[in-house]
Amino acid sequence: MTRPAAGTPRPYRFPRFTRHTLANGLVVLVAPVPDLPLVTIHALVDAGASHDPRGQEGVAQLAAALLAEGTQALDGPALADRFERLGTTLEVGGDWDTAFVEVSGLATRLEAFAHLVAEVLRTPGFAERDVARLRNERLAELLEQQAEPRGLADDMFARFVYAQEARYGLPPGGSTASVSALGRAEVAAFHAARYTPGTTTMIVAGDVEPEAVLAILGRALGDWQGTARVTAPHGAPDAEADGGRTIELVDKADAPQSEIRVGHPAIARGHPAWLRAHVMNAILGGLFSSRINLNLRERHAYTYGAFSSVDARRHAGTFEVATAVQSDVTAPAVSEILAEIARMTEAEVSDDELTLATAYLDGVFPIRYETTSAVAGALAKLVTFGLPDDYYDSYRALIRAMTPADVLAGAQAVLRPEAARIVVVGDVAQVAAPLAALGAGTVRRWDATGAPLDK
């Protein structure tokens, strides 16, 4: 039976958008997407976790979470009620670089949404009781994670790949020690320093016109004043841990599987090799049909899935391979992962592998931006990483032009198998000896709180 041929591709362009600056320095991006009667407002604030002052790790994410818990005029239930009666919910959050406040709903309600979002950004309540409650929720999350191997593996991985003093070595939400020290004063001071017109970008995508958006945002935020201050002045957040390859084994007694993380700090999002590394990662472990997943899942049946990633941050985020394998194959799985990383740096990929990755990344592009929220999120990335306004127009051509030599260059710019940290959350009794026998690095043992088990 003959396989069907592809038809003629139909044109697609990422939505046009316009860029504006209000008199107080607030930047506004408007992307009219008139297909459905919906709008997304995404307020992006340069107030991510890497802005945490030393000793106050977690304050950025705590401040962002508290924005949804009430304003000076409306307590938490009243604020929630205002949004929910408009058929929407306030989404708040943040990553390493930025924090955000987002609402999506019917475009006819844009003005009401905008005034509420402005109130949330400008005059959060930070009531003592709410600060204490959300701080305790974060502490509860850290406690629960001691029995949750995936989150535990992620946090321990960060701890071991970055230097002790590096911000990236602690979770973005902070540690038990740092979060315990946070109170209303720290949260309010962080908000005053980082939530200002000059550090905020209002992104509006949906069934709207730029003129109307500017008029509404002018009314809601035009008289917002404030000057940003630097809150985290010292040191790079991405300093790497000293020493060579190690195996860090975190004990979870009787675990039927081992959660495995293998990797090291990679490159900043703005690094010239970023796109080459992005395509390289797709081939190594980004796609279902990647080398690592086909090896560990489809060839060996060690796992339900195995993937790799290069995390996009302003400084060097992690390269990591993540998987969970049945306990008795932990050591061979680590061995296969290390071999696949090394192989990627040693020889060019085949044309077949390359075109699978590039055809996927090129073709899937329009599928990524079906919703107003996804369009706003894509624009937020432009702002966060300072990418050019035509980035999404040139992306697909750049991907299609990649060569096997580019992919090898991307691998060599990022991958350092000899420096990889191997973190395993699993049953020490079952996996310690086989891991030591690999000869891939010294095995150090830890308990779920992070305390050393080796005296």
Binding site: M1, R3, P4, A6, G7, P9, Y12, D35, L36, P37, L38, G76, P77, A80, D81, E84, R85, G87, T89, G105, L106, R133, N136, E137, A140, E141, L143, E144, Q146, A147, E148, P149, P256, Q257, E259, F288, S289, L294, E298, R299, A301, Y302, T303, Y304, A324, V325, Q326, L356, A359, Y360, L361, G363, V364, F365, P366, I367, Y369, E370, T371, S373
Partner: protein
């Protein structure tokens, strides 16, 4: 808003739904088979899901793992999923690759068995057993989604047993089981095919005819065991589990009207009143005011036969005992029953559900999946366009009546997880 719906049936019984939308050059292909874990025979728990894995192992003209590769090479996304009553397979691709997606689905519907080998079965058995370890055995509270139906449905009921399956039953699955399951359930007259997005309807119909027309209709399918159940448990059912967890968690379930029935809509509004977003009763009371819980969600499982489940899921704050967590949760449900819900609460729930429905319909894949859902479980994809109106017809009195008849002490099941050693300490 109404989305366009055009339906027809091939002579072999395949129901086809077309929903055009040319906003972006994207098309979704979505295929639902009306078979799930409920259709498994004794001693073969987990088989429907294992079978779903085998559908990605090739067919007569498609090599092992080539299905994934061809769709990704086309720039598409894809997956499949298994649930109690149905199994679905779906691709979203750039619209000029519609033929590839349709052909891939047709090849495995019509000609799966020539590609099945013992080696592939053994590999996928290992993968699925690792999926079980990952999602159930090595996750805190991970056994809840097999313990809860086991508690809430009688042992002979098709919803009682585990969807992911036991290791022993997975080990017992054979190539003969694969062939039998395929011939029985994976037939055009037991499937719904939806195409949504950017396509030419004349071309799409021609492709469907070319690829699916020659596939023969299936034989008679065995009837499911009797699914009918009384409207309530008739008692307060309990299961307490000591697990490797740091804090208690309660699943409080009730038997609820089946998906799509008139009585189902007040249940969904009630779930929103109790647990949807920050303004809901349980989030305000248990998380914010009393500070006994760190997370709350309330949902229905949307089962269309026998009885649905209405499930309240509450995780304790550290230091809060399982008993206190349950007492606080039950007190809120009792208060809802005693005082009833207000018009304002129903308006809040409706406003959010309306936005959620419109937002979900932005994506071609979601539109296609919803159309297949209504066609498969309720026999009519047009029900999708009636969802808003059916929700809007619900009055506060209907929601209160649902709570009073379905959430009382004679219709509760408590599945309670406690940290290891905690039960002994409390005793």
């Amino acid at each position: 808003m109404d989305i366009p719906i055009d339906t027809y049936e091939l002579p072999n019984g395949l129901r086809v739904i077309l929903s055009e939308d040319h906003r972006a050059p994207i098309v979704a292909v979505n295929l639902w088979y009306h078979v799930g874990s409920a259709h498994e025979r004794a001693g073969r728990t987990g088989f429907a899901h294992l079978f779903e894995h085998m559908l990605f192992q090739g067919s007569e003209h498609v090599g092992a793992n080539e299905h994934f590769e061809l769709v990704q090479r086309a720039g598409g996304t894809l997956n499949g999923s298994t649930w109690l009553e149905r199994t679905n397979y779906y691709e979203t691709v750039p619209s000029h690759h519609l033929a590839t997606a349709l052909w891939l689905e047709a090849d495995r519907m019509g000609r799966l068995l020539p590609a099945m080998t013992q080696e592939k079965l053994d590999t996928q058995r290992g993968v699925v057993q690792n999926e079980r370890r990952w999602s159930v055995d090595n996750q805190p509270y991970g056994t809840w989604w097999e313990r809860l139906p086991a508690l809430c449905y009688p042992p002979t009921h098709p919803f009682h047993h585990s969807l992911i399956g036991s290791f022993a039953d997975l080990d017992a699955a054979s190539l003969e089981d694969i062939a039998e399951f395929f011939r029985t359930w994976y037939t055009p007259d037991n499937a719904v095919l939806t195409i949504a997005g950017d396509f030419d309807p004349v071309e799409a119909r021609a492709l469907v005819q070319q690829y699916y027309g020659p596939i023969p209709r299936g034989g008679p399918r065995p009837a499911l065991a009797d699914m009918s159940l009384p409207p309530t448990f008739g008692a307060w059912l309990r299961d307490t589990v000591e697990d490797d967890v740091m804090v208690p968690r309660l699943f409080l379930a009730s038997r609820s009207p089946v998906f799509g029935s008139d009585a189902y809509y007040p249940a969904t509004i009630c779930a929103a009143v109790l647990g949807l977003r920050r303004g809901s009763r349980l989030k305000r009371s248990l998380i914010r005011d009393q500070e006994v819980a760190s997370a709350v969600s309330v949902s229905t499982w949307d089962l269309a036969k026998g009885a649905d489940l209405f499930v309240i899921d509450v995780t304790a704050r550290p230091g809060v005992s399982a008993e206190r967590l349950e007492a606080a949760t039950v007190a809120e449900v009792d208060r809802l029953i005693a005082e009833g819900v207000t018009d304002a609460e129903v308006e809040r729930a409706l406003a959010m559900l309306e936005t959620d429905i419109v937002i979900a319909l932005q994506s071609a894949g979601d539109r296609a999946d919803k159309l297949s859902l209504f066609a498969t479980l309720l026999g009519d994809p047009r029900r999708l366009n009636e969802e808003l109106a059916r929700h809007r017809r619900v009055r506060a009195a209907d929601v209160t009546a649902f709570a009073r008849t379905r959430l009382g002490a004679d219709n509760r099941a408590s599945l309670l997880y406690v940290p290891k050693g905690a039960a002994a300490v409390a005793a």
